[in-house]
Amino acid sequence: MKFGLKSSLGLIAALVLSGSALAQGAGDFPNKPVTLVVAFSPGGSTDNLARVIVDDFGQVLGQPVVVENRPGAGGYVAWRSVQSAPPDGYTVLLAENAVALGKALRPDEPLDPRKAFEAVAKIGTAPMALIINSKLEPKTFQEFVEFAKAKEGGVNFSSSGVGSVSHMTFDALADLIGVQPQHIPYRGGGEANAAVVGGHVDAMMQSVGSARKLSEEGGVRVLAVTSEERNPTMPDVPTLKELGVEPDVELRFWWGIFVPAGTPAPIKEKLAAAMKETLERPAVRDRLANIEVAPEFGPAEEMAASLDSEITNWSALVEKRGIKAD
């Protein structure tokens, strides 16, 4: 098989390259492997993203980058460990929406991500979509709003857990359209998807990638997407903006990298530059496209500002809706 030989050579080349690239600037940083901390278990979307970029990120940096999963307490186990790690650039947090949601949901928590971490760069985003079971009546978003208002006891929706992105974004949307939904939490996105496809639950907010896949199989109907523009793979599905629904919180997944507060600026710059270059690599872009993450490099200031507004706006919503997750 021709592929076998080529791929083996590729593997060897990758291993050699990762060891030989030279370090430039920022003193001799990095001169040992860098740890990329993921706050969730292997197999989740953040872990997938980490595994997709980690090899190339290491090649660009000139030192291997190792993914370390530290799941627990909705992310706090990992965040506390990053907070107390030495601010030398060797511990990098791959953060996602959960950092902002976690703070909004636990206002009494002493760890404040705005103070404990310093932003390095924004990496990418993934838009979301509103899906409903395909056997339900509503064919459009407007019909869904009426259905949701009329349904006795309220429309119900599945999510991958209390305080998860799928839970919070649905609640944010429900707030905008003025309905009181019934939340049915599941363990993880796969189970939550199956609940909608199987007709056990009415609706869900899911990533555009999953939503498209499920709708192609006929189990669900996609009613709206949260991105600014319509999704090229689903040109018939309107955006929330077109429908006149404009939230103050981001109804999409986002990822960024952070380091412990006090990390020297040249090191942060070096990490940001390396991430920028990583995200420009065609192979990385292909893989990111496959896992439905849109690479979107943003400098540290942009990441910090967006984290700040996320925490403020989610906190306001949590208070208004009386959502609790201790």
Partner: protein, 500 residues
């Protein structure tokens, strides 16, 4: 059928065969090392597979996964070190067999049982994929609740030794299962102020502590020496004809049970092992042999586990629903390679789907060929004196447990659980019902409450759906049967006493 031939053509190319072998070899090695699970191995290998053809990548990763399931039984039989709930069940009779000098027989039975279970699982997968897909989608909270309740009650009626003590352990397990964050409200229960307890006590920590660490502690007051002193000949590894006659129907029953439970997300392989063990015990002519080295107690759960691991791939590949964290990584790997799991995978990527399925069978065969010669080596571990073996085991446990979540807290926890396990042992409580309660309790609660939310608090919702009503009826019949057979036994005792 053409599709299957195509599958074998894909799986039998040199590269794919080599990676299949590499996968099962790595998997076996990882499975044998207590604690270091397939999860860590598969996630570390994932970036490497970006440079491989998607089919080859999936063959490699899946090989590691089921290879580890296969290897996991070795450590539990030889050293009472289960890394998964399924292998905890294998401990119950496998370890007593090892202590009686029949480790070879137990491992041999495991290998053959796993192979047959895996093969039958694959055949069912080929024939029944569409039916199984429909079934796993039709299972809502009511159906899950009913089937988990059935499992829990079956466990309660079939525990070894004292029934009261067995029930006490199940309740203890239910309580341990309550530790952590409540799924429905996000409220944290019994965390005692530890962040690390907000997700509950880790399953690996509990299984390793209760079985492994407590065994190490118990060995301290045992006179020195080795577990087995005798020399192990090849002859002593092959089950006798009588043993084989007990084992093979158990393997077939286990495979069927495993294939049925496999596709249920989150519960599949562990529930399959529990249920098959309980069935064996219930239908055995002399249930008191169980827990003391009954060969069916090893054969059936192993077959069930491996059949379940195979059929668990159906929801993963065809629906995109991961059953376990490890299968979630496999899904991630497929997506990175641009393959969308789903019903259309079967039709659009025929060579990949059937190639991977054919590789499962080849992988199972390779595992059999690989493991039978290794049995002799594994068994000779038992000849290492306690004073050297047990400290090494303790180190392996600590490393393994640490590797699950990269958290030192878990290492302390496994030692504490080990002490508790030793205490229970002194009081003659069995650890298995505790583990059953711990695993099934949260699932039962979760599905009950989810069902009540959906049915707006109406308990009738659970009996108005045909599948859950059927399972609940089966449950009532089981309880009635147990009550009736007890009553008959008591009455016979009374009339015998009256006659005498």
């Amino acid at each position: 059928m053409d599709a299957l031939i195509l599958g074998f053509e894909v799986a039998l190319t040199g590269t794919n065969l080599a990676y299949c072998f590499l996968g099962v070899l790595l998997g076996t090695a990882i499975g044998v090392l207590p604690g270091i699970g397939a999860l860590a191995a598969v996630s570390m290998l994932l970036p490497v597979t970006f440079y491989l053809h998607p089919t080859t990548a999936l063959i490699l990763l899946a090989g590691v996964y089921y290879g580890a399931e296969y290897g996991g039984s070795t450590a539990s039989i030889l050293l009472r070190l289960p890394g998964t709930p399924a292998s905890a069940i294998t401990c119950l009779d496998g370890y007593p067999m090892a202590k009686q000098g029949k480790a070879g027989v137990a491992l041999f039975t495991t290998s053959v049982g796993s192979f047959i279970g895996g093969s039958l699982g694959i055949i069912l997968m080929m024939v029944l994929t569409p039916a199984i897909m429909t079934m796993s989608l039709a299972f809502g909270p009511a159906e899950y609740f009913a089937i988990i309740l059935l499992g829990l009650v079956a466990a309660g009626t079939a525990t070894g030794g004292s029934v009261v003590k067995g029930l006490m352990m199940i309740v203890f397990g239910l309580l341990v299962g309550c530790i952590g964050t409540d799924l429905n409200t996000g409220v944290v229960r019994y965390d005692l102020g530890f962040y690390e307890l907000q997700d509950g006590i880790n399953m690996v920590v509990l299984a390793m502590g209760l079985f492994g660490v407590s065994e190490v502690i118990a060995s301290i007051d045992r006179p020195g020496g080795e577990i087995v002193q005798r020399r192990i000949s090849l002859r002593s590894m092959i089950p006798s004809r009588a043993e084989w006659r007990q084992a093979y129907p158990a393997i077939l029953r286990g495979s069927a049970i495993g294939a049925f439970f496999g596709p249920l997300p989150g519960t599949g392989p562990s529930l399959a092992s529990f249920m098959s063990y309980l069935v064996e015990k219930r239908i055995a002519r002399d249930p008191s042999r169980f827990g003391k080295g009954a060969i069916e107690g090893v054969a059936s759960p192993e077959a069930a586990n491996n059949a379940a691991v195979q059929t668990a791939f159906i929801p993963t590949l065809a629906l995109g629903i991961p059953g376990t964290a490890t299968t979630a990584i496999l899904l991630g790997a497929m997506m990175v390679h641009g393959i969308q799991p789903g019903p259309r995978l079967v039709t659009q990527n025929q060579d990949l789907f059937w190639g991977v399925i054919a590789s499962f069978w080849i992988g199972n065969l390779l595992l059999l060929i690989l493991n039978i010669p290794l049995i002799g080596i594994w068994v000779s571990i038992l000849k290492i004196p306690y004073r050297l073996l047990y400290p090494a085991i303790l180190i392996f446990i600590c490393v393994g447990v640490y590797s699950v979540n990269n958290n030192l807290f878990d290492v302390w926890m496994v030692l504490i659980v080990g002490l508790v396990g030793y205490g229970l042992r002194l009081l003659e409580f069995e650890p298995a019902p505790l583990l059953i309660g711990y695993i099934l309790g949260p699932l039962l609660e979760e599905n009950l409450r989810r069902g009540l939310l959906l049915f707006r608090g109406d308990y009738m919702g659970f009996v108005q759906r045909p599948i859950s009503a059927g399972i609940l009826l089966l449950l009532v019949l089981l309880i009635a049967y147990v009550a009736w057979s007890r009553y008959r036994a008591v009455r016979r005792g009374v009339s015998a006493a009256a006659a005498g």
